[in-house]
């Protein structure tokens, strides 16, 4: 009880007295926790979503049968003939676009008679299931029985009537197998067969045995796997993305940690004499250590609690951004509801408390070392810090060297763990070098600043150098967030430039066609097979390249298998392959052979090299393909395997293309060509892009994809700027006597205000310099180590000057603006009150 009283009087009361600063510190922790939580919740919601509609609809089963290009319906018959009481549920799965909203929803065909997925509302008879114009919908789709809905499936649109609601189907649209097969041109192919094995004597027939029994009834090229394997694959594929996002979300927390360190350091420096008195009165070292850790813990607890509430709110916005990235690069998804569980709440609070207490360890330890008789002047303390600049630089150099060494290490379990370690070491190196930077720059600028901007600038610059420890921590926090902002900015800018150059080489056709509706990395709706012939007949058209894509699973990871016209690609292709070979030579080798080219992302993900052989299950067969070269591709992260269209049709004889590239004859105008194409395809739900509009669309998707990273960076910078405001407020409170003195010496309130604003300006300048230098090195790490190890993409370095200049200007302006309130507080101080406080 006595300790609580002391804790209240000596720790809590000062926090209460400086409520604005306390609130700023708590807010910094809260934002850090909130961002981590928001990203976790949003990531879970976005990543969990792809299993929602289709998977839930599938129900729980033991096995699933899939195959590239579809499972022959005959396989279902063979499974049915097995002498076991198997429950077989065939599925046709695709996507439809709701014409009114342009929303993409799962479109699933099931055996409505034998395998109604769940209770269906409405009075439905068997004949209705076979009716092509009737659909059943999940509750989340938002339609009522009897409503009419226009849907676009592949390149055809039609009106459907909602006949009932299917429980547990999310936002999916359900219909019977027969109309689904007709509508989706599946012929005698199914997309999946779900199998439930009987649970008669489980011990005698474990799942492995069932697997071998079922395998005997299936053709060679189909895949039999435990149900949910696809979800597992998607989760594995998303792991690197979510991992990187998670790491980005920790930046705000790291910046928050800097600020907690700063707050507790200021407390310790300010109360050094008080601590000495407490020690003289009988307080133990442990007691002092505990008190300051508890102070940090209290700030962390308050920040954690606020962070959980804020994180839940931020997750609403984040989930949209994360889902957009997941959709563009990985897999179709509809965000699932955000689930704030007790576990997440406790984790959020624990993160706040732990990060705060760990950040406070060093200053709290320092406080515990104060001797009972000690009441040293701050100036002497800062002198001590200056004396150790050389040592700090040496340690900094050692950390930089360690960072270089870590950056040369390979990934661990597919994750660039050493890359992250290198980033942390770089931040450490930069933090240790900052006092020297401040010392050198403040010495160099003080005289000049004094001459150019007057005594206020001189005093500001001297004050920063004089309070080295506080300045170093602040510059460290702000520069770390600026560095991450610059690094991510450079990385995204470089990536953008690389993609632009890639499109310049890759997109040689004049017009591109695909079925209407939003695109998705794993959705490959098809165009009618006759489209190519119609286009080739046009006088404006020189060539038509049809590309067909299929989703496949390779080594437990989703990938895209594609087939294009190698002759045309060879004729128009410009971008050399990784081997240095010309496109014409490589594409010529594909024709008439079981040969493929693979994208860089695929090659890196699966460790595939030129000359390797891939075994792919195609159309009921397992076929071996030789990899003849690797090419750069940035369209999605799943990776491509591409063969000649003739080869693909040989194994998967569905001629419908997923998209079409049209090359116009020399001299034909783009407008005329486009008009001719649109006229030829009148009535088809086809989107026609010109070369330019396709690039613009691609860049729009690109920018949307990286919006979340910018949002995270913005929060980190906001936390740092808030920290600057809090720290400047502390500085005003600490130096109130100095400001009072300046008034005694003839300083005006305007001059006092300007001193604080100059200090903020100098802080911002120092942080920008340190941040850009650190950011440059971090960007190299992001581009050439972390990104490459996580996603397998080669990115060419590029300085996005305009983006960087505008972002850093905003940060700089925000830093100076953050000083407005502290400067106001300083100007309002009553000189005679503060000068006689001793």
């Amino acid at each position: 009880m006595a300790y609580l009283t002391i804790f209240h009087r000596l720790i809590l009361r000062p926090l209460w007295r400086e409520s604005v600063r306390t609130v700023l510190t708590i807010a910094a922790v809260a934002l850090g926790v909130a961002v981590v939580l928001a990203i976790e919740l949003a990531g879970e919601a976005a990543a969990g979503s792809f299993r929602s509609s289709v998977e839930t609809l599938a129900g729980s089963g033991d096995f699933e049968v899939t195959a590239t290009g579809g499972v022959p319906a005959a396989a279902l018959a063979r499974l049915a003939l097995l002498p076991y009481a198997l429950k077989l549920r065939p599925r046709i799965e695709d996507y439809a676009v709701v014409a009114a909203t342009n929303r993409v929803v799962p479109f699933v065909g099931v055996d409505m008679l034998g395998d109604a997925p769940a209770a269906t509302a409405g009075n439905t008879g068997a004949s209705e299931f076979l009716h092509g114009g009737f659909i059943w919908v999940g509750k989340d789709a938002g339609w009522k029985p009897g409503e009419h809905v226009r849907l676009i499936v592949n390149d055809e649109s039609a009106d459907y009537t909602v006949r009932g609601i299917v429980d547990g189907a999310g936002d999916a649209i359900v219909t019977d197998l027969a109309p689904a097969a007709r509508l989706l041109h599946r012929g005698a192919m199914l997309d999946r067969i779900l199998i439930d094995v009987p649970i008669v004597v489980p011990a005698s027939r474990p799942l492995e045995q069932w697997e071998s029994i079922l395998r005997t009834a299936l053709p060679d090229g189909v895949t039999l796997a435990p149900q949910g394997a696809r979800t597992g694959e998607n989760r594995r594929m998303l792991a690197a993305f979510r991992w990187n996002l998670r790491v980005l979300s920790y930046i705000a927390l790291v910046v928050g940690a800097f600020l907690i360190y700063n707050t507790i350091s200021v407390s310790v420096i300010r109360r050094r004499e008080e601590i000495g008195i407490m020690r003289a009165l009988g307080a133990t070292r442990f007691g002092v250590l505990g008190a300051f850790l508890l102070e940090a813990g209290c700030l962390g607890l308050a920040g954690g609690l606020a962070g959980v509430a804020l994180g839940r709110l931020m997750a609403i916005g984040s989930v949209r951004l994360v889902a957009a990235t997941v959709e563009s690069l990985y897999v179709s998804s509809t965000p699932a509801p955000i689930a704030l569980t007790w576990g997440v709440v406790v984790a959020g609070i624990a993160i706040g408390v732990l990060v705060s207490m760990v950040s406070a360890l060093a200053p709290a330890w320092e406080a515990s070392q104060v001797m009972p008789v000690e009441a040293m002047a701050r100036g002497r303390r800062d002198h001590h810090v200056r004396m150790h600049q050389g040592r700090g630089l040496a340690f900094g150099a050692a950390l930089a060297l360690a960072a270089w060494f870590a950056s040369r290490q390979p990934p661990v379990g597919g994750k660039p763990l050493f890359g992250y370690l290198a980033a942390l070491l770089m931040i450490g190196a930069s933090t240790l070098a900052i006092p020297a930077l401040i010392s050198v720059l403040s010495r160099a600028t003080a005289t000049v600043a004094g001459r150019v901007f007057g005594v206020e600038a001189l005093l500001a610059s001297r004050s920063l150098a004089g309070s080295m420890r506080r300045t170093a921590v602040l510059v460290g926090a702000l520069s770390t967030s600026i560095a991450m902002l610059s690094a991510v900015g450079i990385m995204v800018g470089s990536f953008r430039q690389t993609v632009l150059l890639w499109m310049e080489d890759r997109l040689q056709a004049d017009l591109y066609l695909r079925p209407a509706g939003p695109a998705g990395a794993d959705r490959h709706p098809t165009l009618a097979p006759d489209i190519a012939a119609r286009l080739e007949a046009l006088p404006e058209v020189a060539a038509v390249d049809q590309f067909r894509a299929y989703e496949i699973s390779y080594q437990g990871m989703p990938a895209t298998l594609g087939g294009g016209d190698a002759r045309i690609a060879g004729r128009y292709g410009r971008r050399p392959f990784f081997s240095g070979a010309r496109p014409a030579d490589v594409f010529a080798q594909l024709i008439g052979h079981d040969r493929v080219i693979v994208s860089e992302a695929f090659a890196n993900k699966h460790g595939v090299k030129r000359g390797d052989t891939l075994e792919l299950p195609l159309g009921g067969r397992r076929v071996r393909f030789r990899v003849i070269d690797i090419y750069g591709d940035y369209s999605n992260e799943r990776g491509y395997i591409v063969m000649d269209r003739g080869t693909l049709l040989q194994y998967l004889p569905d001629p419908a293309p997923s998209n079409v590239a049209v090359y116009l004859r020399a001299g034909a105008s783009l407008e005329a060509g486009r008009r001719a194409v649109e006229t030829a395809l009148a009535g088809r739900r086809v989107m026609v892009f010109t070369n330019r509009s396709l690039r613009e669309e691609a860049m729009r998707v690109f920018d949307r994809t990286f919006a979340i990273t910018y949002a995270l960076e913005a929060v980190a910078v906001f936390v740092a700027v808030m920290g600057v405001a809090g720290a400047l407020l502390a500085l005003v409170i600490d130096r109130r006597r100095e400001f009072g003195l300046l008034r005694f010496l003839g300083g005006s309130t305007g001059q006092i205000r300007r001193i604080i604003l100059f200090e903020a300006g100098l802080l911002g300048l120092l942080a920008n310099i340190a941040g850009i230098v650190l950011g440059f090195w971090l960007s190299l790490l992001l581009i050439f180590v972390i990104n490459r190890q996580s996603f397998g993409w080669t990115i060419q370095f590029h300085w996005p000057v305009a983006v960087l200049v505008s972002a850093l200007s905003i940060v700089y302006a925000a830093t100076v603006l953050a000083a407005l309130y502290p400067s106001q507080v300083a100007a309002r101080l009553v000189p005679i009150e503060v000068i006689h406080e001793d």
């Binding site: 007057g454 005093l459 005694f744 010496l745 003839g746 005006s748 000189p831 005679i832 006689h836």
Partner: protein, 225 residues
């Protein structure tokens, strides 16, 4: 005309009187000691004299100007031109060297030739050899001499010293008092010094005794006491 006139000056803080009807004049070049026990109103009198605070009633006239009639900008100008302050705890800025501390009032007032004038003042207080030193590298007496140089650098007509020897040992304190005496003689600067050091009054011309915020007596100092 006196440089400084207190005309029935009263000052109270939240109803508690700190000064009650104080009236006396200080002539140009006069060195006045304000003596009395702690809490008798010495510091308050210095603050109202230097226009850092204002009477609740009555008026303070500094060089012909009623201080309470001035606005914020004029008050700042008045302090920059006419008043210098010396404090018990020196109040040097720790981040500035001795000479930078001294030139500070000139820089704040945007006066030219600040560095030369500051060095001249340091020479006057025999601290020119320590011009580049930081405050933490100086002794208490040295710091106070630098503070005196700073108070003089803009050649104020009135120097207000609040217990200037309070943090010094007696020998160093005596040296500081002798220095103030010399300044009053050489520069004809008016000095108003609050002190409870009985020996300090020996260097002054006049002693004003305060008790409970009231002037108890004013006497001329007998030199050599």
């Amino acid at each position: 005309m006196p440089l400084l006139r207190f005309n029935r000056v009263s000052k109270s803080y939240a109803g508690v009187p700190a000064l009650v009807g104080v009236s006396f004049d200080v002539a140009r070049g006069e060195f006045v000691a304000l003596v009395g026990q702690s809490g008798c109103g010495k510091s308050t009198l210095l603050n109202v004299a230097g226009a850092m605070d204002f009477p609740t009633s009555g008026e303070v006239v500094l060089d012909g100007v009623v201080t309470s009639s001035l606005g914020e900008a004029a008050l700042t100008r008045l302090r920059r031109e006419k008043v210098g302050f010396i404090f018990q705890s020196f109040q040097l800025l720790p981040s500035l060297s001795a000479v930078e501390n001294v030139e500070l009032p000139l820089l704040l007032a945007r006066r030219p030739r600040a560095r030369e004038t500051a060095l001249d003042c340091l020479r006057e207080v025999e601290m020119d050899a320590y011009a580049a030193r930081m405050p933490y590298q100086l002794s208490g007496g040295q710091m106070q001499r630098v503070a005196i140089a700073r108070a003089l650098v803009h050649a104020p007509a009135l120097l207000l010293a609040d217990e200037p020897t309070g943090n010094l040992d007696s020998t160093t304190g005596d040296l500081v008092l002798q220095l103030l005496r010399r300044i009053a003689d050489r520069r004809q600067t008016t000095i108003l010094m609050a002190t409870h050091n009985v020996e300090a009054v020996s260097v002054t011309d006049t002693v004003v005794r305060l008790r409970d915020g009231r002037v108890q007596g004013i006497s001329e100092t007998v030199k050599g006491l």
